[in-house]
Symmetry: C2
Subunit: 312 residues, 2 copies
Protein backbone atom coordinates (compact mmCIF):
# COMPACT_ATOMS: atom_id res chain seq x y z
CA UNK A 1 0.00 0.00 0.00
CA UNK A 2 2.94 2.34 -0.65
CA UNK A 3 0.65 4.76 -2.49
CA UNK A 4 -1.06 5.61 0.78
CA UNK A 5 2.13 7.27 2.04
CA UNK A 6 1.45 10.97 2.68
CA UNK A 7 4.53 11.96 4.67
CA UNK A 8 7.95 10.33 4.67
CA UNK A 9 8.46 10.92 8.37
CA UNK A 10 5.95 11.94 11.02
CA UNK A 11 6.93 12.78 14.60
CA UNK A 12 4.39 12.58 17.42
CA UNK A 13 5.46 14.40 20.57
CA UNK A 14 3.39 12.90 23.37
CA UNK A 15 1.90 9.42 23.17
CA UNK A 16 -1.11 9.62 25.53
CA UNK A 17 -4.70 8.89 24.56
CA UNK A 18 -4.76 11.20 21.53
CA UNK A 19 -1.16 10.71 20.38
CA UNK A 20 -1.44 6.95 20.57
CA UNK A 21 -4.76 6.98 18.73
CA UNK A 22 -3.21 9.08 15.94
CA UNK A 23 -0.29 6.63 15.81
CA UNK A 24 -2.63 3.65 15.48
CA UNK A 25 -4.74 5.40 12.83
CA UNK A 26 -1.63 6.38 10.83
CA UNK A 27 -0.30 2.82 10.97
CA UNK A 28 -3.73 1.40 10.12
CA UNK A 29 -3.83 3.43 6.91
CA UNK A 30 -0.07 3.14 6.26
CA UNK A 31 0.33 6.91 5.85
CA UNK A 32 4.05 7.28 6.58
CA UNK A 33 7.33 5.43 6.07
CA UNK A 34 8.68 6.37 9.48
CA UNK A 35 6.67 7.19 12.57
CA UNK A 36 8.86 8.68 15.31
CA UNK A 37 7.46 8.80 18.83
CA UNK A 38 8.64 10.90 21.75
CA UNK A 39 7.29 11.25 25.28
CA UNK A 40 8.69 12.87 28.42
CA UNK A 41 7.44 9.92 30.49
CA UNK A 42 9.77 6.90 30.25
CA UNK A 43 6.83 4.70 31.21
CA UNK A 44 4.59 5.96 28.40
CA UNK A 45 7.45 5.66 25.94
CA UNK A 46 8.26 2.07 26.79
CA UNK A 47 4.57 1.20 26.80
CA UNK A 48 4.27 2.71 23.32
CA UNK A 49 7.28 0.70 22.18
CA UNK A 50 5.79 -2.55 23.54
CA UNK A 51 2.52 -1.72 21.77
CA UNK A 52 4.54 -1.08 18.55
CA UNK A 53 2.89 2.30 18.06
CA UNK A 54 5.72 3.61 15.85
CA UNK A 55 9.01 2.84 14.13
CA UNK A 56 11.34 4.70 16.47
CA UNK A 57 11.10 5.88 20.07
CA UNK A 58 12.94 8.88 21.52
CA UNK A 59 13.25 10.37 24.97
CA UNK A 60 14.53 13.50 23.29
CA UNK A 61 11.91 15.26 21.12
CA UNK A 62 14.77 16.82 19.13
CA UNK A 63 15.71 13.37 17.83
CA UNK A 64 12.12 12.60 16.96
CA UNK A 65 11.58 15.73 14.84
CA UNK A 66 14.85 15.31 12.93
CA UNK A 67 14.00 15.11 9.21
CA UNK A 68 10.28 14.95 10.02
CA UNK A 69 7.88 16.34 7.38
CA UNK A 70 5.12 16.58 9.94
CA UNK A 71 5.39 17.14 13.69
CA UNK A 72 2.29 16.92 15.88
CA UNK A 73 2.39 18.02 19.51
CA UNK A 74 0.09 15.75 21.56
CA UNK A 75 1.00 16.96 25.06
CA UNK A 76 -0.90 19.28 27.43
CA UNK A 77 -0.79 22.83 26.03
CA UNK A 78 1.14 24.04 29.08
CA UNK A 79 4.21 22.19 27.76
CA UNK A 80 4.19 23.74 24.29
CA UNK A 81 6.58 26.63 24.84
CA UNK A 82 9.32 24.47 26.32
CA UNK A 83 8.96 21.81 23.67
CA UNK A 84 8.72 24.43 20.91
CA UNK A 85 11.96 26.06 22.03
CA UNK A 86 13.69 22.69 22.20
CA UNK A 87 12.67 21.42 18.77
CA UNK A 88 12.74 24.72 16.83
CA UNK A 89 16.41 24.54 15.77
CA UNK A 90 15.99 20.92 14.61
CA UNK A 91 12.95 21.46 12.42
CA UNK A 92 13.49 20.82 8.73
CA UNK A 93 12.64 23.52 6.18
CA UNK A 94 9.15 22.94 4.76
CA UNK A 95 8.03 20.80 7.68
CA UNK A 96 4.46 21.15 8.94
CA UNK A 97 4.06 21.70 12.69
CA UNK A 98 0.68 21.01 14.22
CA UNK A 99 -0.89 20.01 17.55
CA UNK A 100 -4.08 18.57 19.04
CA UNK A 101 -4.66 21.00 21.92
CA UNK A 102 -8.16 21.97 23.03
CA UNK A 103 -7.39 25.72 22.92
CA UNK A 104 -6.03 27.46 19.87
CA UNK A 105 -5.46 31.20 20.23
CA UNK A 106 -3.05 30.64 23.08
CA UNK A 107 -1.24 27.97 21.06
CA UNK A 108 -0.75 30.39 18.19
CA UNK A 109 0.51 33.09 20.58
CA UNK A 110 2.88 30.68 22.27
CA UNK A 111 4.43 28.95 19.31
CA UNK A 112 4.30 31.54 16.56
CA UNK A 113 7.43 33.37 17.67
CA UNK A 114 9.26 30.26 18.75
CA UNK A 115 8.99 28.27 15.53
CA UNK A 116 11.30 29.08 12.61
CA UNK A 117 9.87 30.90 9.57
CA UNK A 118 10.73 27.99 7.31
CA UNK A 119 8.00 25.69 8.75
CA UNK A 120 4.24 25.79 8.17
CA UNK A 121 2.49 26.13 11.50
CA UNK A 122 -1.09 24.82 11.45
CA UNK A 123 -2.70 24.28 14.87
CA UNK A 124 -5.30 21.52 14.99
CA UNK A 125 -7.88 20.03 17.34
CA UNK A 126 -9.63 16.69 16.84
CA UNK A 127 -13.02 16.81 18.62
CA UNK A 128 -12.86 13.36 20.07
CA UNK A 129 -11.49 11.56 23.07
CA UNK A 130 -12.51 9.47 26.03
CA UNK A 131 -12.08 9.97 29.76
CA UNK A 132 -9.13 7.56 29.77
CA UNK A 133 -5.48 8.62 29.61
CA UNK A 134 -2.28 6.98 28.44
CA UNK A 135 -1.02 5.06 25.39
CA UNK A 136 -2.81 1.79 26.09
CA UNK A 137 -6.23 3.47 25.98
CA UNK A 138 -5.88 4.87 22.47
CA UNK A 139 -7.53 3.22 19.47
CA UNK A 140 -7.42 3.76 15.72
CA UNK A 141 -11.17 4.41 15.37
CA UNK A 142 -11.21 7.37 17.77
CA UNK A 143 -11.40 9.91 14.94
CA UNK A 144 -13.80 8.07 12.65
CA UNK A 145 -16.73 10.34 11.77
CA UNK A 146 -15.56 13.00 14.20
CA UNK A 147 -14.56 16.53 13.30
CA UNK A 148 -11.03 17.90 13.34
CA UNK A 149 -10.68 21.68 13.38
CA UNK A 150 -7.61 23.31 11.81
CA UNK A 151 -6.77 26.94 12.55
CA UNK A 152 -3.97 27.74 10.08
CA UNK A 153 -1.85 30.82 10.76
CA UNK A 154 -1.75 33.49 8.07
CA UNK A 155 1.73 32.44 7.02
CA UNK A 156 0.89 28.79 6.46
CA UNK A 157 0.82 27.77 2.79
CA UNK A 158 -2.40 26.47 1.27
CA UNK A 159 -0.51 23.40 0.10
CA UNK A 160 0.52 22.57 3.66
CA UNK A 161 -3.07 23.05 4.90
CA UNK A 162 -4.30 20.72 2.16
CA UNK A 163 -1.74 18.08 3.11
CA UNK A 164 -2.63 18.16 6.79
CA UNK A 165 -6.34 18.12 5.96
CA UNK A 166 -5.81 15.05 3.78
CA UNK A 167 -4.04 13.29 6.65
CA UNK A 168 -6.92 13.87 9.06
CA UNK A 169 -9.38 12.71 6.43
CA UNK A 170 -7.29 9.59 5.90
CA UNK A 171 -7.56 8.77 9.60
CA UNK A 172 -11.32 9.07 9.54
CA UNK A 173 -12.16 12.71 10.35
CA UNK A 174 -14.06 15.49 8.69
CA UNK A 175 -12.00 18.67 8.66
CA UNK A 176 -13.25 22.21 9.34
CA UNK A 177 -11.11 25.30 8.97
CA UNK A 178 -11.75 28.28 11.25
CA UNK A 179 -9.83 31.03 12.97
CA UNK A 180 -8.32 30.33 16.36
CA UNK A 181 -10.43 32.85 18.25
CA UNK A 182 -13.70 31.45 16.97
CA UNK A 183 -12.53 27.92 17.72
CA UNK A 184 -11.98 28.89 21.33
CA UNK A 185 -15.47 30.36 21.63
CA UNK A 186 -17.13 27.33 20.03
CA UNK A 187 -15.21 24.90 22.21
CA UNK A 188 -15.91 26.92 25.34
CA UNK A 189 -19.60 26.04 25.02
CA UNK A 190 -19.33 22.58 23.44
CA UNK A 191 -16.54 21.30 25.65
CA UNK A 192 -14.89 23.54 28.22
CA UNK A 193 -17.91 24.81 30.18
CA UNK A 194 -19.47 21.32 30.11
CA UNK A 195 -16.29 19.97 31.68
CA UNK A 196 -16.21 22.78 34.22
CA UNK A 197 -19.75 22.18 35.44
CA UNK A 198 -19.25 18.41 35.45
CA UNK A 199 -16.12 18.78 37.58
CA UNK A 200 -18.04 21.21 39.77
CA UNK A 201 -21.10 19.09 40.50
CA UNK A 202 -18.98 16.04 41.22
CA UNK A 203 -16.98 18.18 43.66
CA UNK A 204 -20.17 19.53 45.25
CA UNK A 205 -21.59 16.04 45.77
CA UNK A 206 -18.29 14.95 47.30
CA UNK A 207 -18.38 17.80 49.82
CA UNK A 208 -21.90 17.47 51.24
CA UNK A 209 -22.50 16.63 54.86
CA UNK A 210 -26.26 16.05 54.60
CA UNK A 211 -25.86 13.31 51.99
CA UNK A 212 -23.13 10.70 52.45
CA UNK A 213 -20.61 9.75 49.80
CA UNK A 214 -21.98 6.23 49.89
CA UNK A 215 -25.46 7.55 49.05
CA UNK A 216 -24.10 9.61 46.16
CA UNK A 217 -22.43 6.50 44.77
CA UNK A 218 -25.36 4.11 45.24
CA UNK A 219 -27.95 6.42 43.74
CA UNK A 220 -25.78 7.92 41.00
CA UNK A 221 -27.78 6.16 38.29
CA UNK A 222 -30.42 8.87 38.75
CA UNK A 223 -28.35 11.14 36.49
CA UNK A 224 -25.25 12.13 38.45
CA UNK A 225 -23.07 9.38 36.99
CA UNK A 226 -23.42 10.89 33.49
CA UNK A 227 -21.33 13.83 34.74
CA UNK A 228 -18.62 11.70 36.26
CA UNK A 229 -17.32 10.55 32.90
CA UNK A 230 -15.98 13.89 31.70
CA UNK A 231 -15.10 14.78 35.32
CA UNK A 232 -12.69 11.84 35.18
CA UNK A 233 -10.72 13.37 32.30
CA UNK A 234 -7.02 14.10 32.58
CA UNK A 235 -6.49 16.78 35.30
CA UNK A 236 -3.36 18.36 33.82
CA UNK A 237 -4.75 18.61 30.34
CA UNK A 238 -7.91 20.26 31.66
CA UNK A 239 -6.09 22.58 34.05
CA UNK A 240 -4.18 23.85 31.03
CA UNK A 241 -7.37 24.31 29.01
CA UNK A 242 -8.86 26.61 31.64
CA UNK A 243 -5.62 28.50 32.18
CA UNK A 244 -5.41 29.15 28.45
CA UNK A 245 -8.97 29.81 27.33
CA UNK A 246 -9.98 32.01 30.22
CA UNK A 247 -11.89 34.75 28.43
CA UNK A 248 -14.08 32.53 26.26
CA UNK A 249 -14.77 30.18 29.19
CA UNK A 250 -15.78 33.08 31.44
CA UNK A 251 -18.00 34.49 28.71
CA UNK A 252 -19.84 31.21 28.12
CA UNK A 253 -19.99 30.44 31.83
CA UNK A 254 -21.60 33.85 32.30
CA UNK A 255 -24.32 32.94 29.80
CA UNK A 256 -24.84 29.59 31.49
CA UNK A 257 -25.20 31.31 34.87
CA UNK A 258 -27.67 33.91 33.57
CA UNK A 259 -29.86 31.13 32.21
CA UNK A 260 -29.49 29.12 35.40
CA UNK A 261 -30.66 32.08 37.48
CA UNK A 262 -33.82 32.22 35.42
CA UNK A 263 -34.33 28.49 35.85
CA UNK A 264 -33.69 28.76 39.58
CA UNK A 265 -36.32 31.48 39.73
CA UNK A 266 -38.75 29.30 37.76
CA UNK A 267 -38.28 26.49 40.30
CA UNK A 268 -38.76 28.93 43.17
CA UNK A 269 -41.89 30.38 41.57
CA UNK A 270 -43.25 26.94 40.59
CA UNK A 271 -43.42 28.13 36.98
CA UNK A 272 -44.37 24.81 35.39
CA UNK A 273 -44.91 26.37 31.98
CA UNK A 274 -41.38 27.72 31.74
CA UNK A 275 -39.91 24.43 32.92
CA UNK A 276 -41.92 22.32 30.51
CA UNK A 277 -41.13 24.59 27.59
CA UNK A 278 -37.35 24.42 28.20
CA UNK A 279 -37.43 20.65 28.79
CA UNK A 280 -39.29 20.12 25.53
CA UNK A 281 -36.93 22.29 23.50
CA UNK A 282 -33.78 20.54 24.73
CA UNK A 283 -35.02 17.16 23.47
CA UNK A 284 -34.72 18.33 19.89
CA UNK A 285 -31.03 19.19 20.15
CA UNK A 286 -30.13 15.63 21.08
CA UNK A 287 -32.11 14.43 18.09
CA UNK A 288 -30.08 16.72 15.78
CA UNK A 289 -26.80 15.48 17.26
CA UNK A 290 -27.84 11.87 16.69
CA UNK A 291 -28.97 12.69 13.15
CA UNK A 292 -25.58 14.30 12.48
CA UNK A 293 -23.85 11.03 13.41
CA UNK A 294 -22.16 12.56 16.47
CA UNK A 295 -24.02 10.49 19.06
CA UNK A 296 -25.56 7.07 19.47
CA UNK A 297 -29.34 6.68 19.52
CA UNK A 298 -29.07 3.68 21.85
CA UNK A 299 -30.82 4.39 25.19
CA UNK A 300 -28.50 5.30 28.05
CA UNK A 301 -25.57 5.81 25.61
CA UNK A 302 -25.77 2.06 24.91
CA UNK A 303 -24.53 1.31 28.42
CA UNK A 304 -24.66 -2.39 29.09
CA UNK A 305 -27.50 -3.14 31.49
CA UNK A 306 -26.56 -6.77 31.84
CA UNK A 307 -22.77 -6.88 31.82
CA UNK A 308 -22.15 -6.95 35.54
CA UNK A 309 -25.46 -8.51 36.49
CA UNK A 310 -25.72 -11.57 38.68
CA UNK A 311 -28.60 -13.55 37.29
CA UNK A 312 -31.36 -14.29 39.72
CA UNK B 1 -43.24 -21.69 38.35
CA UNK B 2 -46.32 -21.10 40.49
CA UNK B 3 -44.19 -20.81 43.61
CA UNK B 4 -42.76 -17.52 42.32
CA UNK B 5 -46.19 -15.88 42.71
CA UNK B 6 -45.95 -13.04 45.24
CA UNK B 7 -49.23 -11.21 44.62
CA UNK B 8 -52.45 -12.60 43.18
CA UNK B 9 -53.24 -9.41 41.32
CA UNK B 10 -51.00 -6.42 40.61
CA UNK B 11 -52.27 -3.21 39.00
CA UNK B 12 -49.91 -0.85 37.23
CA UNK B 13 -51.36 2.62 36.66
CA UNK B 14 -49.26 4.14 33.84
CA UNK B 15 -47.40 2.02 31.31
CA UNK B 16 -44.57 4.33 30.18
CA UNK B 17 -40.86 3.53 30.39
CA UNK B 18 -40.89 2.58 34.08
CA UNK B 19 -44.34 0.98 34.23
CA UNK B 20 -43.68 -1.15 31.17
CA UNK B 21 -40.27 -2.20 32.51
CA UNK B 22 -41.88 -3.28 35.79
CA UNK B 23 -44.50 -5.19 33.80
CA UNK B 24 -41.84 -7.00 31.80
CA UNK B 25 -39.80 -7.79 34.92
CA UNK B 26 -42.87 -9.10 36.76
CA UNK B 27 -43.80 -11.33 33.81
CA UNK B 28 -40.19 -12.47 33.40
CA UNK B 29 -40.14 -13.73 36.97
CA UNK B 30 -43.81 -14.84 36.97
CA UNK B 31 -44.58 -12.90 40.15
CA UNK B 32 -48.37 -12.53 39.78
CA UNK B 33 -51.38 -14.43 38.49
CA UNK B 34 -53.01 -11.34 37.07
CA UNK B 35 -51.29 -8.19 35.90
CA UNK B 36 -53.77 -5.38 35.25
CA UNK B 37 -52.60 -2.39 33.24
CA UNK B 38 -54.17 1.04 33.01
CA UNK B 39 -53.06 4.18 31.18
CA UNK B 40 -54.81 7.47 30.42
CA UNK B 41 -53.38 7.42 26.90
CA UNK B 42 -55.33 5.12 24.57
CA UNK B 43 -52.23 4.87 22.40
CA UNK B 44 -49.99 3.69 25.23
CA UNK B 45 -52.65 1.26 26.38
CA UNK B 46 -53.11 -0.36 22.99
CA UNK B 47 -49.32 -0.46 22.49
CA UNK B 48 -49.02 -2.23 25.84
CA UNK B 49 -51.70 -4.69 24.81
CA UNK B 50 -49.96 -5.44 21.53
CA UNK B 51 -46.70 -5.97 23.43
CA UNK B 52 -48.58 -8.31 25.81
CA UNK B 53 -47.31 -6.44 28.86
CA UNK B 54 -50.14 -7.69 31.10
CA UNK B 55 -53.21 -9.89 31.40
CA UNK B 56 -55.87 -7.18 31.29
CA UNK B 57 -55.96 -3.61 30.00
CA UNK B 58 -58.19 -0.86 31.35
CA UNK B 59 -58.89 2.71 30.36
CA UNK B 60 -60.39 3.17 33.79
CA UNK B 61 -57.88 2.83 36.64
CA UNK B 62 -60.76 1.91 38.96
CA UNK B 63 -61.25 -1.32 37.00
CA UNK B 64 -57.54 -2.07 37.14
CA UNK B 65 -57.23 -1.74 40.92
CA UNK B 66 -60.33 -3.88 41.62
CA UNK B 67 -59.24 -6.82 43.79
CA UNK B 68 -55.58 -5.86 43.37
CA UNK B 69 -53.20 -6.81 46.21
CA UNK B 70 -50.65 -4.34 44.97
CA UNK B 71 -51.19 -1.09 43.06
CA UNK B 72 -48.21 0.85 41.69
CA UNK B 73 -48.63 4.35 40.29
CA UNK B 74 -46.21 4.83 37.38
CA UNK B 75 -47.46 8.20 36.11
CA UNK B 76 -45.97 11.70 36.54
CA UNK B 77 -46.40 12.77 40.19
CA UNK B 78 -48.60 15.68 39.14
CA UNK B 79 -51.36 13.16 38.36
CA UNK B 80 -51.34 11.39 41.74
CA UNK B 81 -54.05 13.31 43.53
CA UNK B 82 -56.61 12.84 40.77
CA UNK B 83 -55.80 9.17 40.35
CA UNK B 84 -55.70 8.65 44.12
CA UNK B 85 -59.17 10.15 44.52
CA UNK B 86 -60.50 8.02 41.69
CA UNK B 87 -59.18 4.69 42.88
CA UNK B 88 -59.50 5.15 46.66
CA UNK B 89 -63.08 3.80 46.98
CA UNK B 90 -62.17 0.74 44.90
CA UNK B 91 -59.06 -0.32 46.84
CA UNK B 92 -59.35 -3.66 48.60
CA UNK B 93 -58.64 -3.91 52.33
CA UNK B 94 -55.04 -4.98 52.94
CA UNK B 95 -53.86 -3.85 49.52
CA UNK B 96 -50.43 -2.24 49.20
CA UNK B 97 -50.33 1.06 47.32
CA UNK B 98 -46.96 2.24 46.00
CA UNK B 99 -45.49 4.39 43.26
CA UNK B 100 -42.24 5.05 41.36
CA UNK B 101 -42.10 8.86 41.51
CA UNK B 102 -38.81 10.73 41.77
CA UNK B 103 -39.98 12.84 44.73
CA UNK B 104 -41.37 11.35 47.90
CA UNK B 105 -42.37 13.87 50.59
CA UNK B 106 -44.85 15.49 48.24
CA UNK B 107 -46.24 12.07 47.33
CA UNK B 108 -46.83 11.23 50.98
CA UNK B 109 -48.51 14.61 51.54
CA UNK B 110 -50.68 14.20 48.47
CA UNK B 111 -51.86 10.64 48.89
CA UNK B 112 -51.87 10.08 52.63
CA UNK B 113 -55.25 11.71 53.20
CA UNK B 114 -56.77 10.45 49.99
CA UNK B 115 -56.10 6.74 50.45
CA UNK B 116 -58.32 4.68 52.79
CA UNK B 117 -56.90 3.58 56.15
CA UNK B 118 -57.30 -0.07 55.22
CA UNK B 119 -54.42 -0.02 52.68
CA UNK B 120 -50.67 0.01 53.33
CA UNK B 121 -49.17 3.03 51.60
CA UNK B 122 -45.45 2.60 50.80
CA UNK B 123 -44.02 5.12 48.34
CA UNK B 124 -41.13 3.82 46.24
CA UNK B 125 -38.55 5.04 43.75
CA UNK B 126 -36.41 2.81 41.53
CA UNK B 127 -33.17 4.65 40.72
CA UNK B 128 -33.01 3.68 37.09
CA UNK B 129 -34.33 4.77 33.76
CA UNK B 130 -33.27 5.94 30.35
CA UNK B 131 -33.96 9.11 28.41
CA UNK B 132 -36.62 7.31 26.34
CA UNK B 133 -40.34 7.42 27.08
CA UNK B 134 -43.28 5.13 26.36
CA UNK B 135 -44.14 1.44 26.69
CA UNK B 136 -42.06 0.20 23.79
CA UNK B 137 -38.84 1.52 25.33
CA UNK B 138 -39.14 -0.43 28.59
CA UNK B 139 -37.15 -3.59 29.23
CA UNK B 140 -37.11 -6.22 31.97
CA UNK B 141 -33.45 -5.67 32.90
CA UNK B 142 -33.87 -1.97 33.73
CA UNK B 143 -33.79 -2.63 37.48
CA UNK B 144 -31.08 -5.26 37.58
CA UNK B 145 -28.39 -4.25 40.05
CA UNK B 146 -29.98 -0.84 40.60
CA UNK B 147 -31.31 0.49 43.86
CA UNK B 148 -34.95 0.96 44.72
CA UNK B 149 -35.73 3.28 47.64
CA UNK B 150 -38.86 2.68 49.71
CA UNK B 151 -40.14 5.39 52.08
CA UNK B 152 -42.87 3.62 54.09
CA UNK B 153 -45.36 5.80 55.96
CA UNK B 154 -45.60 5.30 59.71
CA UNK B 155 -48.87 3.45 59.36
CA UNK B 156 -47.61 0.85 56.90
CA UNK B 157 -47.19 -2.61 58.38
CA UNK B 158 -43.77 -4.24 58.46
CA UNK B 159 -45.22 -7.24 56.67
CA UNK B 160 -46.36 -5.06 53.77
CA UNK B 161 -42.94 -3.40 53.57
CA UNK B 162 -41.30 -6.82 53.49
CA UNK B 163 -43.60 -8.01 50.71
CA UNK B 164 -42.95 -4.95 48.54
CA UNK B 165 -39.21 -5.22 49.21
CA UNK B 166 -39.27 -8.86 48.13
CA UNK B 167 -41.00 -7.89 44.89
CA UNK B 168 -38.35 -5.32 44.00
CA UNK B 169 -35.63 -7.81 44.82
CA UNK B 170 -37.33 -10.38 42.61
CA UNK B 171 -37.19 -7.95 39.70
CA UNK B 172 -33.48 -7.38 40.18
CA UNK B 173 -33.10 -4.42 42.56
CA UNK B 174 -31.42 -3.82 45.86
CA UNK B 175 -33.81 -2.11 48.25
CA UNK B 176 -33.02 0.72 50.68
CA UNK B 177 -35.46 2.05 53.24
CA UNK B 178 -35.28 5.75 54.19
CA UNK B 179 -37.59 8.55 55.18
CA UNK B 180 -39.20 10.62 52.46
CA UNK B 181 -37.50 13.89 53.37
CA UNK B 182 -34.03 12.39 53.23
CA UNK B 183 -34.84 10.68 49.94
CA UNK B 184 -35.71 14.05 48.45
CA UNK B 185 -32.42 15.57 49.58
CA UNK B 186 -30.33 12.65 48.29
CA UNK B 187 -32.10 12.66 44.95
CA UNK B 188 -31.80 16.44 44.63
CA UNK B 189 -28.03 16.05 44.33
CA UNK B 190 -27.82 12.67 42.57
CA UNK B 191 -30.57 13.31 40.06
CA UNK B 192 -32.61 16.51 40.14
CA UNK B 193 -29.87 19.15 40.08
CA UNK B 194 -27.91 17.14 37.47
CA UNK B 195 -31.00 17.19 35.28
CA UNK B 196 -31.54 20.90 35.91
CA UNK B 197 -28.03 21.88 34.86
CA UNK B 198 -28.11 19.53 31.89
CA UNK B 199 -31.36 21.07 30.68
CA UNK B 200 -29.85 24.49 31.35
CA UNK B 201 -26.61 24.12 29.39
CA UNK B 202 -28.41 22.57 26.46
CA UNK B 203 -30.77 25.56 26.51
CA UNK B 204 -27.85 28.00 26.74
CA UNK B 205 -26.08 26.43 23.77
CA UNK B 206 -29.30 26.59 21.79
CA UNK B 207 -29.66 30.34 22.46
CA UNK B 208 -26.21 31.63 21.51
CA UNK B 209 -25.71 34.02 18.64
CA UNK B 210 -21.90 33.87 18.55
CA UNK B 211 -21.85 30.11 18.01
CA UNK B 212 -24.27 28.58 15.53
CA UNK B 213 -26.54 25.64 16.28
CA UNK B 214 -24.78 23.71 13.54
CA UNK B 215 -21.43 24.24 15.30
CA UNK B 216 -22.86 23.08 18.62
CA UNK B 217 -24.09 19.91 16.94
CA UNK B 218 -20.95 19.16 14.95
CA UNK B 219 -18.56 19.68 17.82
CA UNK B 220 -20.73 18.21 20.58
CA UNK B 221 -18.41 15.22 21.00
CA UNK B 222 -16.13 17.54 22.97
CA UNK B 223 -18.31 16.91 26.04
CA UNK B 224 -21.60 18.72 25.43
CA UNK B 225 -23.37 15.65 24.06
CA UNK B 226 -23.01 13.87 27.43
CA UNK B 227 -25.49 16.42 28.84
CA UNK B 228 -28.01 16.00 26.08
CA UNK B 229 -28.99 12.51 27.20
CA UNK B 230 -30.63 13.47 30.47
CA UNK B 231 -31.80 16.74 28.90
CA UNK B 232 -33.85 14.56 26.54
CA UNK B 233 -35.81 13.01 29.41
CA UNK B 234 -39.59 13.27 29.62
CA UNK B 235 -40.58 16.98 30.00
CA UNK B 236 -43.79 16.43 31.99
CA UNK B 237 -42.22 14.01 34.43
CA UNK B 238 -39.35 16.41 35.07
CA UNK B 239 -41.55 19.48 35.31
CA UNK B 240 -43.43 17.69 38.07
CA UNK B 241 -40.19 16.75 39.85
CA UNK B 242 -39.11 20.38 40.10
CA UNK B 243 -42.56 21.58 41.07
CA UNK B 244 -42.66 19.04 43.88
CA UNK B 245 -39.13 18.96 45.30
CA UNK B 246 -38.52 22.68 45.27
CA UNK B 247 -36.84 23.17 48.63
CA UNK B 248 -34.30 20.35 48.35
CA UNK B 249 -33.52 21.30 44.73
CA UNK B 250 -32.96 24.96 45.66
CA UNK B 251 -30.76 23.93 48.58
CA UNK B 252 -28.54 21.67 46.49
CA UNK B 253 -28.52 24.13 43.60
CA UNK B 254 -27.33 26.76 46.07
CA UNK B 255 -24.38 24.55 47.05
CA UNK B 256 -23.59 23.87 43.40
CA UNK B 257 -23.61 27.62 42.67
CA UNK B 258 -21.39 28.47 45.65
CA UNK B 259 -18.84 25.96 44.43
CA UNK B 260 -19.15 27.18 40.86
CA UNK B 261 -18.44 30.75 41.97
CA UNK B 262 -15.19 29.58 43.52
CA UNK B 263 -14.30 27.69 40.36
CA UNK B 264 -15.17 30.72 38.24
CA UNK B 265 -12.87 32.79 40.41
CA UNK B 266 -10.10 30.17 40.05
CA UNK B 267 -10.39 30.40 36.27
CA UNK B 268 -10.36 34.22 36.41
CA UNK B 269 -7.31 34.19 38.71
CA UNK B 270 -5.52 31.47 36.71
CA UNK B 271 -5.30 29.39 39.88
CA UNK B 272 -3.88 26.22 38.34
CA UNK B 273 -3.34 24.54 41.68
CA UNK B 274 -6.99 24.80 42.71
CA UNK B 275 -8.14 23.55 39.30
CA UNK B 276 -5.78 20.59 39.25
CA UNK B 277 -6.66 19.60 42.79
CA UNK B 278 -10.42 19.55 42.07
CA UNK B 279 -9.95 17.73 38.75
CA UNK B 280 -7.87 15.06 40.46
CA UNK B 281 -10.34 14.53 43.28
CA UNK B 282 -13.33 14.07 40.98
CA UNK B 283 -11.64 11.16 39.17
CA UNK B 284 -11.89 9.03 42.29
CA UNK B 285 -15.66 9.33 42.60
CA UNK B 286 -16.20 7.80 39.19
CA UNK B 287 -13.93 4.94 40.20
CA UNK B 288 -16.08 4.30 43.31
CA UNK B 289 -19.27 4.33 41.25
CA UNK B 290 -17.80 1.82 38.83
CA UNK B 291 -16.58 -0.35 41.72
CA UNK B 292 -20.09 -0.26 43.21
CA UNK B 293 -21.48 -1.72 39.98
CA UNK B 294 -23.50 1.41 39.20
CA UNK B 295 -21.58 2.40 36.06
CA UNK B 296 -19.69 0.78 33.22
CA UNK B 297 -15.90 1.02 33.09
CA UNK B 298 -15.97 0.98 29.29
CA UNK B 299 -14.48 4.22 27.87
CA UNK B 300 -17.04 6.77 26.70
CA UNK B 301 -19.87 4.83 28.43
CA UNK B 302 -19.20 2.03 25.96
CA UNK B 303 -20.55 4.16 23.12
CA UNK B 304 -20.04 2.46 19.79
CA UNK B 305 -17.27 4.20 17.89
CA UNK B 306 -17.84 2.19 14.75
CA UNK B 307 -21.57 1.68 14.49
CA UNK B 308 -22.41 4.51 12.12
CA UNK B 309 -19.01 4.69 10.46
CA UNK B 310 -18.55 4.58 6.73
CA UNK B 311 -15.40 2.58 6.15
CA UNK B 312 -12.71 4.40 4.25
Amino acid sequence: MADAIMFDRIALIGIGLIGSSIARAILRADLTRELAISDASPQHLSEAEKLELGHSFHHDPVEAVQDADLVILCTPVGTYRTIGEQIAPALKAGAIVSDVGSVKEHVVDTLQDVLPAHVDFIPGHPISGTEKSGPRHGFAELFDNRFCILTPTEDASQQAVDRLKALWEAIGSEVEIMDAKHHDLVLAITSHVPHLIAYNIVGTADDLESVTKSEVIKFSAGGFRDFTRIAASDPIMWRDVFLNNRDAVLEMLGRFLEDLSMLQRAVRDSDGEMLESLFTRTRNIRRSIIDAGQETDAPDFGRQHHAETDSE
